[in-house]
């Protein structure tokens, strides 16, 4: 077991890009309510996504011939962290930019790349991810939704669940069973498909969550036809394909900055109503120190990824620490302010606190629960 976190220094040359993103956000920022900002990267706003696309900030690292910007992972990091710091609604391009696009770039056919990557980069194709099922959550390999060969392609049957923004997206990359499934071969016989969400036989049922809103969905597949050329990568290799990008998914700032926008509001409110006494200083100081170290860790994993490493352990550690960090924010606010127990519409801090208090439990569930991550970490440490 070796856990490695080599430092990665962001070069000064990125400061002009950072300024560009800040200027851009200052222009669009004004109309967002605290409630909306609280949705952070899951917030779905196609207009915003198109504006981001116009700046060339979706698919930044992809080749130009697929609509990308051929920019570095560090440049993308700067854009992403600036967006997250502002609580920008990234949901309409987030999954395509972070997951589906890179997957297609790596394993997609030329035709798939040409069709989908430029559309994602233009902000016109929104992607969702179909993994969990009603009876396969943390135990993902037990999934049952099946793809069976049909004339000219495949027929999909079964159900996916907890698909964030599935009701709003254009395409899904879904994991389906094409074989295997017996006890010894649970991770075999899984395949990934590109699915047009307008296909006949797809029934999307939004699931109202505890906030009263519907962000995720249950999606039923009733003999849905998928053309043969919409298989992604190798038939039967879906498990490896779907999990190999997890180091990226689990280590980036969205895993510790989901609540960040409440922090500046909290700071200003403390200054306005109570003065910066020692308790406030200490609590805020601890939170900021924790955040800075998480950012260093995230950059470090990015450096490894950019060099072609697959730091799965390190990424799992960042997500576990990061989720724990971001989940402390609502209680931090409560501990430092005697705010009324109401959600005051129009009051940014109050709205943020209202939504975040309700959503933080999901942070250590989405993208791998804390328990799954700790299992991965323990195994990596050599605990048998």
């Amino acid at each position: 077991m070796t856990i490695t976190f080599n430092p990665l220094e962001l070069p000064d040359s990125l400061s002009s890009l950072r300024r560009e993103v800040r200027d851009f956000l200052n222009e669009v920022d004004r109309d967002w309510s605290g409630w909306k900002v609280g949705h952070s990267w899951t917030g779905f706003d196609r207009d915003f996504t198109r504006a981001v696309a116009e700046r060339g900030w979706i698919g930044m690292t992809w080749p130009r011939r697929y609509g990308g910007g051929e920019r570095s992972h560090l440049e993308r990091f700067v854009v992403v962290e600036e967006m997250l710091a502002a609580g920008a609604p990234l949901g309409a391009h987030w999954f395509g930019d972070r997951q589906s696009g890179p997957l297609l770039l790596r394993l997609g056919t030329e035709q798939q790349r040409e069709r989908f990557l430029p559309a994602i980069a233009r902000g016109e194709a929104s992607f969702c991810i179909g993994l969990s099922e009603p009876n396969a959550g943390s135990d993902l390999a037990s999934l049952k939704a099946r793809a069976t060969p049909a004339d000219g392609g495949w027929r999909l049957n079964g159900a996916k669940i907890w698909t964030t923004n599935g009701h709003l997206c254009d395409f899904m990359i879904g994991l389906f069973r094409t074989g295997g499934g017996e006890d010894k071969a649970r991770h075999q016989g899984l395949s990934q498909f590109l699915i047009d969400m307008q296909s006949s036989g797809i029934n999307v049922r939004p699931i109202r969550d505890l906030t009263g809103e519907a962000h995720f969905n249950e999606i039923f597949f009733d003999d849905v036809f998928v053309p043969a050329d919409m298989l992604v990568g190798q038939e039967g290799d879906g498990w490896r394909q779907a999990t190999s990008e997890l180091a990226f998914e689990r280590s980036q700032p969205d895993r510790f900055m989901s609540c960040f926008p409440v922090l500046p509001e909290l700071i200003d409110e403390i200054r306005a109503v109570r003065g910066d006494d020692r308790l406030a200083r200490r609590e805020i100081g601890h939170t900021v120190a924790d955040l800075i170290i998480l950012r260093e860790m995230s950059l470090s994993v990015l450096g490894e990824l950019a060099e072609g490493q697959a730091p799965a352990q390190e990424a799992a550690l960042v997500k576990d620490l990061g989720n724990t960090h971001e989940q402390t924010y609502p209680n931090l606010v409560n501990g430092l302010l005697d705010a009324p127990a109401t959600i005051d519409t129009g009051n940014r801090l109050s709205e943020l606190q209202g939504i975040l208090t309700q959503t933080v439990p999901s942070f250590s569930l989405r993208g791998g629960t804390r328990e799954i991550l700790r299992g991965i970490i323990a195994k990596g440490l050599g605990l048998k």
Partner: protein, 363 residues
């Protein structure tokens, strides 16, 4: 990997070999009884590591702090019972101030002392006090930073010229409370402006906080290693306890703390190299405290009653963690300082202060 090893890693490797061979329980006990480990110090001196951070102009190796971090961390991980970190800090600062190095172990006071109004007849005079100065009871030399209205000076004092009162600490390492009344230093030098502004108002304290953080990161690494090993070997209910999910998750939690701790220590070192000394120490010491607390808590839970005994090695690590958590400013003290700065700047300045901290360079 070997041909990729830089000088810092080579040094760390040597330190690891030395300490893994030499730091026995008996020697840890001897030092806690107040004896200086002359033999171990001689080994280190021969290796040249005490001068690793000192600039070449002072006869040192001139490593950056980032390069020296692995050796310091490894030394920490073995609970090295010598004032290596303090001596390295002193050699770095003195070397940059153009002072000759005494070639002996040195203690360092974190507090800023007062500099008398030196005149041609009286020479330089120093006064002040330090509540906890590790190693001063067994070292001849104490480095302090002293200030008056006009200048800041590094002053090397001899133990015979100061009052040292024994103290008890959780680590039980040699150390004392220091009182200095108008003492004449063995040597002193005005701090160069760049070093003075890089150190800031806290003087040498951030450097001590940095090395404590790095040492603590080493200790937490050691706790992790011990816990993994114990988890795989200790059997209860007919299987290794590391097979129980409850134990696995605790150790995974410890792994997270160890990783954060290491990143914090390295962050502090990198900030010194960039001239943002206080920024690095502040963030690192504020973060390492919770990591040490949680880390020690988990290790003791994993080891059960045997880990609570005097006979077991664990307490030599956990007691140092509890001690060092409080030394050179506790995590709460540093967090308060950081929080004060953040609150003073206001909400909109928070994010820019994280992405673009403003450093000064030390020459």
């Amino acid at each position: 990997m070997n041909d990729e090893m830089n000088i810092g890693e080579l040094l760390a490797d040597q330190v690891d070999k030395l300490f893994s061979r030499e730091v026995t329980r008996e020697r840890l006990i001897a030092v806690e009884q107040g004896r200086f480990d002359t033999g171990l110090w001689q080994n280190l001196d021969d290796m040249g590591i005490c001068l690793a951070l000192a600039p070449e102009s002072a006869g040192g190796v001139g490593l950056t702090w980032q390069e020296a971090e692995p050796a310091l961390r490894i030394a920490g991980s073995w609970a090295a019972p010598v004032p290596l970190a303090e001596t390295m800090v002193a050699a770095w600062a003195m070397g940059h101030a153009g002072m000759d190095l005494p070639g002996a172990p040195m203690a360092v006071a974190g507090e800023v002392f007062q500099l008398g109004e030196n005149s041609p007849d009286s020479g330089v005079r120093v006064s002040g006090a330090s509540a906890v100065t590790p190693w001063i009871t067994v070292c001849d030399h104490l480095l302090v930073l002293a200030r008056n209205d006009r200048e800041s000076r590094l002053c090397l004092l001899h133990r015979h010229d100061i009052t040292v009162e024994d103290i008890e600490t959780i680590a039980r390492l040699p150390g004392g409370r220091v009182d200095v009344a108008n003492a004449e230093p063995l040597a002193s030098a005005v701090l160069p402006n760049t070093l003075s502004s890089a150190l800031g108002e806290l003087g040498l304290l951030p450097l001590l906080a940095c090395v404590r953080t790095v040492q603590m990161a080493g200790l937490i690494d050691r706790l992790l290693e011990l816990c993994v090993d114990y988890g795989n070997t200790r059997e209860q209910f007919g299987r290794p306890i590391g097979r129980f999910q409850a134990i696995q998750h605790m150790i995974a939690d410890l792994a997270g703390q160890s990783a954060a701790a290491r990143v914090a220590g390295l962050y502090a070192c990198r900030q010194i190299d960039k001239g943002a000394i206080e920024q690095g120490a502040t963030v690192a010491k504020a973060r390492i405290g919770p990591a040490a607390t949680r880390g020690a808590e988990i290790a003791h839970q994993v080891f059960g009653a045997i880990g609570f005994t005097d006979e077991h090695i664990l307490h030599y690590y956990s007691r140092r963690l509890w001690q060092w958590r409080s030394e050179a400013g506790s995590e709460h003290w540093w967090a308060e300082r950081l929080g004060q700065q953040v609150l003073a700047r206001g909400g909109s300045a928070l994010w820019p202060s994280i992405t673009d901290p403003k450093p000064t360079t030390v020459e």
